[in-house]
């Protein structure tokens, strides 16, 4: 058992309840090149093309074997471009059901790779360092799958993957073919899924990880199990995608279905939805605002104001429009209030509802002395989370705080400073290969200087990756 001591669990309200709505009838889907780090896409369709599920929409310009495919069958409704004609999304309007296929078998690893690449499933595999889609020409030293999400409001996979245990095990067995090293899957102690995996996949190494967020981040787990040195790579896959892979192996069908949690302080009826990857969240968000079951009818503009919809968790997720699309790797949609308000003397007031890792606000003294009295804090005492930065950007002044929420054998502040000045050699020495921006999310959260740390880390990693190319 691995015990993570450093970290922080944010007490956000609105965790998803154990109930699933079927939202597979959503019509609009998108595959977004922006979900994939460093991808330069080559568009393979034009507006109006008919595609079936698993047909290629665009591919990687640098490696055309890596294909990004349509999650559903239908018509290409729009090719969305941004500044400098950058491809932002390919939107597919769903029309037809999925075709039939037969179970797959693989002669060897190369055959498996070939078939995965062709099916588009390959893009679900990510490699560290850099967080890019795995390079099919390399072999990772290990594959690590995280079996739980410790992030705020994170998806409960024990619930979401109920009844998918067979697919999960099959997927894990398939994954383990891709490495000569170990394939790990990490669970919280006592997780139900762990039992199924233990009893059905002999090839997979099951580990238990205990502790606050980021214990469930795959980066934290890799650092404990098989830290990445320069020149090495470790591959990871989201556990929901592992079941997609398992399902594909069993049926030959590309069926990227997953169960996502829709949660957050602004979700009035937070629970799980069964969707197909890349689904448009508009109707789900509306249903949450109106507190009705999906699908919801029109709702007024006012009630939709000041809602931030995030694909992923509040710490490292991606902001999407209220009619945007779920990200390629995400199992959670968070809805939190925008924080564009002024706060009179905010720096001086006691701050009963302000959450802080430091104990500089009155709120810092509540849970410790009150949690004995209340099982659940009364609403007046629950901290309020929104997108306000709670202060202006300043130089990095305080030290020693990042270390408290950063469970790596890395000096976070020193690494961050190396990234800011762009010293590639120093970055390497300080362990940049072991981290992804999401590993710094908690540092970014607690930073009193309000530095945007994750983009700095991403930029540094990209710089390093391009240097090595």
């Amino acid at each position: 058992m691995i015990k993570i001591k450093k970290g922080l669990d944010l007490p956000l309200t609105g965790a998803a309840g154990c109930r699933v709505s079927d939202a597979r009838s959503i019509v609009s889907y998108a595959v977004k090149p922006t979900d994939y780090v460093g991808l330069v896409p080559r568009l393979m369709v034009v507006e109006g093309d008919e595609v079936s599920a698993g047909d290629v929409l665009f591919c990687d310009k640098n490696d055309e074997r890596i294909r990004f495919v349509s999650p559903v069958g239908g018509v290409v409704k729009a090719v969305v471009r941004g500044e400098k004609r950058k491809l932002l999304a390919v939107v597919v309007k769903r029309q037809t059901g999925n075709g039939m296929s037969s179970p797959l078998s693989f002669d060897n690893v190369d055959d498996l790779k070939q078939k995965m690449l062709h099916s588009g499933l390959w893009t679900l595999l990510r490699q560290r360092p850099f967080g890019i889609v795995a390079n099919p020409d390399t072999t990772p030293k290990a594959i690590v799958v995280s079996g739980f999400d410790s992030a705020p409001l994170g998806c409960d996979y024990d619930f979401a993957l109920q009844g998918r245990e067979d697919d999960l095990c099959r997927g894990l067995e398939t994954l383990s073919m891709l490495t000569e090293g170990t394939t790990y899957i990490c669970f919280r102690p006592g997780q139900r899924l762990a039992q199924s995996v233990l009893s059905h996949c002999g090839k997979v190494n099951v580990q238990y990880v205990e502790g606050p967020h980021p214990a469930g981040n795959v980066g934290t787990q890799i650092a404990q199990l098989c830290p990445i040195n320069k020149g090495e790579s470790v591959w990871t896959m989201n556990i929901q995608d592992v079941t997609v892979l398992g399902h594909w192996v069993a049926t030959g069908q590309y069926c990227p279905e997953r169960v996502i949690a829709v949660a957050g302080p602004l979700a009035k009826n937070p629970h799980y939805y069964q969707i197909i990857a890349g689904a448009c969240v508009e109707e789900i968000v509306r249903a949450q605002v109106l507190n009705v079951d999906y699908p919801a009818l029109e709702c007024s503009k006012e009630s939709m104001q000041s809602i931030r919809v995030i694909s992923g968790n509040v710490l490292s997720g991606t902001r999407i429009a209220q009619d945007g699309f779920v990200g390629a790797y995400d199992s959670l949609v968070s809805m939190i209030p925008e924080g564009d308000y002024y706060d009179f003397m905010g720096w001086l007031m006691p701050g009963l509802k302000k959450h802080s890792f430091s104990r500089t606000f009155a709120s810092g003294f509540i849970p410790n002395c009150m949690s004995g009295l209340f099982k659940v804090l009364p609403e007046e005492l629950q901290p309020r989370f929104d997108t306000n930065t709670h202060g202006g950007v300043r130089p990095l002044v305080f030290t020693g705080d990042f270390e408290k929420v950063f469970p790596f054998d890395i000096y976070p502040l020193q690494l961050l400073k190396a990234c800011i000045v762009g010293d590639l050699e120093l970055m390497e020495k300080l362990g940049i290969y072991e981290v992804e921006p999401e590993d710094f999310a908690l540092c970014e959260y607690i930073d009193p200087s309000k530095t945007d740390i994750q983009p700095i880390i991403r930029e540094a990693l990209e710089k390093l990756r391009k240097e090595g190319m």
């Binding site: 009179f344 500089t360 202060g391 002044v397 300080l430 959260y445």
Partner: protein
Amino acid sequence: MFDNLRRLIDKIKPNFVEGGKFGWLQSTFEAFETFAFTPNTVTRHGSHVRDAVDMKRAMITVVIALMPALLFGMWNIGFQTSLNAEDWPYELGTAASWWYCLWFGFLRMLPLIVVSYVVGLGIEFMFAQIRHHEVNEGYLVTGLLIPMIVPVTTPLWQLALAVAFAVVLGKEVFGGSGMNFLNPALVARAFLFFSYPTHMSGDKVWIAADLWGTDAIAGATPLGELAAGSLPSDTALDMFIGTVTGSTCETSVIAILLGAIVLLVSGIASWRIMLSVILGGGAMGLLFNLIGANDYMQLPFYYHYLMGGFMFGAVFMATDPVTSAQTNAGKWIYGLLIGLFAVMLRVLNPAYPEGMMLSILLMNSFAPLIDHCVVARNIKKRERRKEAVR
């Protein structure tokens, strides 16, 4: 009322942006605006929610932590004068005298604090404007620390000069708060100490003769007495409570410990540094006890905690996050050495009765080196791990 204030600010704001009528006051305006209202900026990506603590909150927490020492210091200024002055208006020991001590000290401290803030913040605002930065809150603390560690009779013009020197050469030339390597408050103190030694040390600076002016009544500090070769006349309890002579707000160990509690509970200052400074000082004190070559060396080691600015330095000065070591292991080394050197300077060098200031400044300049060594170990570990794979 808040709404009206907000409306007023929004109304006049266009004048203060780039190209506006008062564009050259942009940073100043921003400083006052964000003073009144925490800004409405929202996150754009990455961590969508942020911790409520910001630089202002962190700095104001330190200011709050300084309050016990400041209040006691004010009272003690009056108290010391009341003991020694001939024309103290109230009978000693009465409640009226007690309150008058506080009032007297308040009136003595106020000009020092005002001069420190006006000069320091003036320079900060100017630099922020030239750089088109927002004004950094670091000086909220520095500006209060400086008057708290000087003798009460320090002439205001000297204080102003020291503040200007510290802010410009101690901080702004390096890029402002967060970039400096010496604690600016101690730079100011050192500037005064070396430029105007007659006003900063000796026996005739510590007790104000009257409400105004720089006249002083003779009265040695415990450290002064020791440097002169005699033992301190104050009892340990007096020094612990703080009813002894010394720089304005450094005398009371109790008041400083109250501040330390605020800093430690809020998590603003490093407990590692505080503890290690105290351990380092104690270790050196005990070592001198063992040697025992003279009276000073035989002084019980805990006297070093009670005398002079040791505790004030350990709690408020050594813990400055910018100028201390930044790694946790480094903080231990940094703190231990501060404690060691402070006591060593005190005992072995009678020319500088107080070793704390110099010791912290010395370790400030060594902090980057300490960190470098600590980080180098981590780097080496990583390299070894890589070689082990091969």
